[in-house]
């Protein structure tokens, strides 16, 4: 069901825990699905000994992909017109990820109604891991 501009208000929010305990296997799944096989994400030995990191960490685009679910569950399928994020913090195996979206504006352009959303995803410490925006086409 598509959202209706007439039923939305600035400040309306949605949030959802999208990952309870991020696994290394999910990161590997994402490497295979996306084609980004950087060993910093999939190879603990490389990440520690060559990369100098505490271990593997998630692709930023995995976190963005996970975050997209909150948006499409809310605005409906095929309704997004824009989605952008900054990658703020690394996401590690074991992290719990909660995505948040808040209505910033409801507007009409050339007879088409849109909702602008502020989007963040936070980890179990409440720190942002990605921060950005989305716009969706909504019904009147």
């Amino acid at each position: 069901m598509a959202l209706r501009a007439s039923e939305l208000q600035v400040g309306d929010r949605r949030e959802a825990v999208l990952v309870e305990d991020l696994t290394r296997t999910q990161i590997v799944q994402y490497a295979g699905a996306s084609g980004d096989y950087h060993p910093l994400h999939t190879d603990e030995v490389y990440a520690r000994e060559v990369g100098g990191y505490a271990g593997v960490f998630a692709h930023g685009m995995l976190t963005m992909g996970i975050t997209g679910r909150l948006l499409t569950d809310w605005v409906g399928d095929g309704r997004l017109t824009r989605f952008g994020v900054r990658f703020v913090r690394q996401v590690w195996p074991g992290d719990r990820l909660t995505a948040h979206a808040t209505v910033e504006a409801i507007r009409e352009e050339e007879g088409v109604h849109y909702v602008d959303l502020a989007v963040t995803t936070t980890n179990q410490d409440g720190d942002d891991v990605v921060s950005g925006y989305a716009t969706a086409r909504v019904d009147p």
Partner: protein
């Protein structure tokens, strides 16, 4: 250079949706999808990221028969850890920003072509990572009719030193 093609396939959409942990049947169940507003399976919003599979020059994919920067007998198969991983204490390339503009949903059967253009480059002094160099790339995905389907703007950052964070 030949412009790479990205065939949109139902199986790839299903696998991608699983990887991002999205159980929405619009990505896997054609019968369900037929009864929805979009009328069929579509791809998740970040799906064009999988075009890396079709980019002949994508550097983050092992090449058959060539040394790879990941670990095998040694922590890396390439002297110094390869071009993107960085040596211990050295800098790393990281993804800073990603922006999508959607002109229409992607559907199985679409065959997109994509063209990558170098955008702006700028520098900034970082607190922990030393000098940061930002590099913007714009990728335009077009359908068989030349119509723009998705526009991607991606910003990468190269750091002088490794930026690590404690696990939560």
């Amino acid at each position: 250079m030949v412009t790479p093609r990205l065939p949109i396939e139902a199986g790839s959409i299903m696998v991608f949706a699983r990887a991002i942990g999205d159980p929405n049947p619009i990505y896997s169940d054609p019968e369900y999808a037929r009864g929805t507003e979009v009328g069929g399976i579509i791809a998740p919003p970040t799906f064009t990221q999988s075009s890396a599979h079709y980019d002949p020059d994508f550097p983050l994919r092992p090449r058959i028969g060539e040394p790879w920067m990941g670990s095998g007998r040694e922590p890396t198969g390439i002297q110094g850890g390869g071009p993107v991983g960085g040596a211990p204490g050295g800098g790393t390339g990281l993804h800073a920003e990603q922006h999508f503009e959607y002109h229409r949903p992607l559907r199985p059967g679409d065959v997109l072509t994509f063209e990558t253009k170098r955008g702006r480059t700028w520098e900034k002094a970082g607190r922990r990572a030393g000098k940061l160099t930002f590099i913007e790339t714009v990728i335009e995905y077009r359908d068989e009719h030349g119509e723009l389907v998705v526009t991607v703007r991606n910003v990468g950052v190269r750091t002088e030193r490794v930026v690590d964070q404690e696990r939560g």
